[in-house]
């Protein structure tokens, strides 16, 4: 995509943020407050339209009590895993 906001449009970063957030019963706004970003940035991340920096990935993983490798991947996650 010409105007992609991904850091590397050729290699998207897949994530399970929405799943992990729902499991904790957090809203996008609550997760955004914990991670120190705008709530729309969480939306962009969940739709995989934006790839986070390593710092943000670590902050989100910490906010969701997960490891970065559990939350982000360069290959699509298997459903239900």
């Amino acid at each position: 995509m010409l105007f992609s906001m991904s850091r590397n449009p050729e290699e998207p970063v897949y994530n399970r943020i929405e799943e992990a957030r729902a499991a904790l019963g957090l809203s996008r706004q609550e997760l955004a407050d914990k991670a120190g970003v705008h709530y729309q940035t969480i939306g962009y991340l969940e739709r995989e339209e934006y790839s986070p920096s390593l710092v943000l990935a670590i902050r989100i993983a910490k906010s969701l009590n997960q490891e970065v490798s559990e939350l982000f991947s360069l290959t699509p996650f298997k459903k239900g895993k």
Binding site: V37, Y50, P52
Partner: protein
């Protein structure tokens, strides 16, 4: 938290102003944020800038319409006020529509917003370059606008419109491109 409202003179924004827009504190502006409405604003703004830049054609138009000096002055004044208010109004709404992200400093934005702002500036810079190129060609070759010649028309309108475009283009690009702001 400090209650002092930091003013960013260089960017032309205040800390409280940007935070209020980022946090949806005033819901009455929510209607501005749909991409369709943002694009309408950008179109109106572009139209206002084009009309402002064409102020230099006024003497030619007045002659062609055979208007009396009084009628000409009234028509020009009314049109000028309408165009100025439309353009300034659109610019104000545009800044609200993009939550001042195009003007805000790094410390008030998150990393995605900074990336969006920087990309908007990049495209605005290219667009501005093409506008300058087009204006230079127009000034040199355009009919009745030989501004570099003593008998040419007043070029101040083009200068005003160009400066205004320079300030507004990043917000216009952002308002046009982004799906969610």
């Amino acid at each position: 938290m400090s209650k002092k409202n930091k003013i960013y003179w260089f960017e032309g924004v205040t800390e409280k102003g940007v935070k209020a827009l980022l946090n949806d504190e005033n819901s009455k502006y929510r209607w501005l944020r749909s991409q369709k409405n943002r694009r309408v604003l950008v179109t109106l703004m572009a139209l206002g800038l084009i009309l402002t830049s064409m102020g230099g054609y006024w003497p030619t138009l007045k002659t062609n319409l055979n208007l009396s000096p009084g009628a000409g002055m009234i028509l020009f004044s009314v049109t000028a006020i309408f165009v100025i208010f439309t353009t300034v109004g659109c610019y104000s709404f545009l800044r609200i529509a993009v939550r001042s992200i195009a003007d805000a400093p790094d410390e008030l934005l998150d990393e995605r917003q900074i990336a969006v702002r920087n990309t908007s500036f990049r495209y605005a810079y290219f667009i501005f370059g093409y506008i300058i190129l087009a204006l230079m060609l127009l000034m040199l070759l355009g009919p009745d606008l030989k501004l570099f010649q003593p008998e040419g028309n007043d070029g101040s309108y083009i200068v005003i419109a160009t400066l205004f475009a320079c300030a507004a283009l990043p917000s216009m690009v952002m308002a046009w491109r982004e799906r969610d702001i």
